[in-house]
């Protein structure tokens, strides 16, 4: 195992601060939050690495896409999370577009047994604009994302329709995160300022 990059400089404080950012992002879908700076391995953005360090541990089987496999050693070493098949994952890390319905959506009895997908995108706050509405939003909000997969809006509609089942998504880019809980509805608004 090659171990080159450290985790959080201050694991307790940094992971708590990041957890708060994830919590706020989930409570206010589409709102962009900045997370703790750290020195991540090359294929991961700082925000992606911070969210992994905060949410992944020995009890969260994690699925990695092909590109994320390059960070496998770092994840195993710092998070201790076992690598799992998509259908058995509680966390998924995708650096490339991924299908939402590949992961557990929970059951009607236990909707919490669904996966949370950590999706690294090119940018948050610029790119294609999406209109979000639903719990946590008094009025529809606009989220600009560069790098969401084609067909995401349609896939999301199918995911949203499963409620209370369904996956949740945390978007990460640079040192910023935004969240799409399963309760949110997404509509393509306009193509962004690029």
């Amino acid at each position: 195992m090659s171990i080159t990059h450290p985790g959080f400089p201050d694991p307790v404080q940094d992971s708590q601060a990041c957890f708060r950012a994830v919590l706020d992002a989930m409570a206010r879908p589409g709102q962009v939050h900045t997370v703790t700076a750290l020195d991540p391995p090359p294929m991961l953005d700082a925000a992606t690495a911070a969210v992994l360090l905060t949410l992944a541990d020995a009890d969260t089987p994690i699925w990695l896409d092909q590109a994320a496999m390059a960070a496998r050693d770092w994840i195993t070493f710092h998070c201790g999370a076992p690598i799992a098949a998509a259908t058995a994952a509680t966390l998924a890390l995708a650096l490339e577009p991924v299908r939402l319905d590949a992961f557990p959506a929970g059951t009607d009895d236990a909707p919490e047994l669904s996966a949370t997908i950590i999706l690294q995108v090119a940018a948050l706050g610029r790119g294609a604009a999406f209109e979000l509405s639903g719990p946590g939003l008094a009025a529809p909000a606009i989220l600009e994302v560069d790098g969401l997969p084609a067909g995401f809006v349609a896939e999301w509609a199918a995911n949203h329709a499963l409620f209370p089942r369904g996956v949740d998504v945390i978007l990460c880019a640079g040192d910023r995160i935004a969240a799409l809980p399963r309760t949110v509805q997404i509509r393509q608004a306009w193509f962004g300022k690029a």
Binding site: I3, H5, P6, G7, P11, F77, H78
Partner: protein
């Protein structure tokens, strides 16, 4: 960065010795011999779930947890050292990780083995030997009635 590490058997031996040493024993014996290092993970405290076997040799079961301190460091030369030590002594874990890194370095190994690992290993073996002798002193010597009469 070095690509090969020491023979795992040797490494297992010294890691077991370092895990049983106190922080002050490590600090004293390694004084002036510690490598320059940066922390990659920890030192931090967590748990290990200990396991037994049903009946002694059967299927495993969870017995209960123990505290453990662990640390991973990298030396300036690129050696990565790990330590896991039962208990909560962060300083012990950090020193043990630094020593584990340095002991993998062929240029330092024999000096550290002589100065740190061997004396600690001897002291630990002596402690075990004392316990075993003390136990042997409480071994029951049975005398049959016939023997007592004679």
């Amino acid at each position: 960065m070095p690509v090969t590490s020491a023979n795992p058997l040797d490494r297992r031996r010294w890691m077991a010795v370092l895990a049983r040493a106190t922080a002050s024993e490590l600090a004293t014996s390694a004084e002036g011999r510690l490598p320059v290092f940066t922390r990659l993970r920890g030192p931090e405290i967590g748990l290990v779930m200990l396991r037994g076997r049903a009946g002694g040799t059967g299927p495993a079961f969870n017995l209960g947890e123990a505290t453990v301190a662990r640390c991973t460091v990298r030396t300036a030369e690129g050696w990565v050292g790990h330590a896991y030590c039962l208990g909560r002594d962060l300083r012990q874990a950090e020193l043990a990780a630094a020593l584990d890194a340095a002991l993998q370095d062929p240029a330092r190994q024999s000096e550290l083995d002589v100065a740190v690992v061997q004396p600690l290993a001897l002291a630990q073996a002596a402690r075990r030997d004392t316990l075993a002798r003390r136990a042997a002193a409480t071994k029951v010597q049975f005398f049959t009635l016939a023997t007592m009469r004679s």
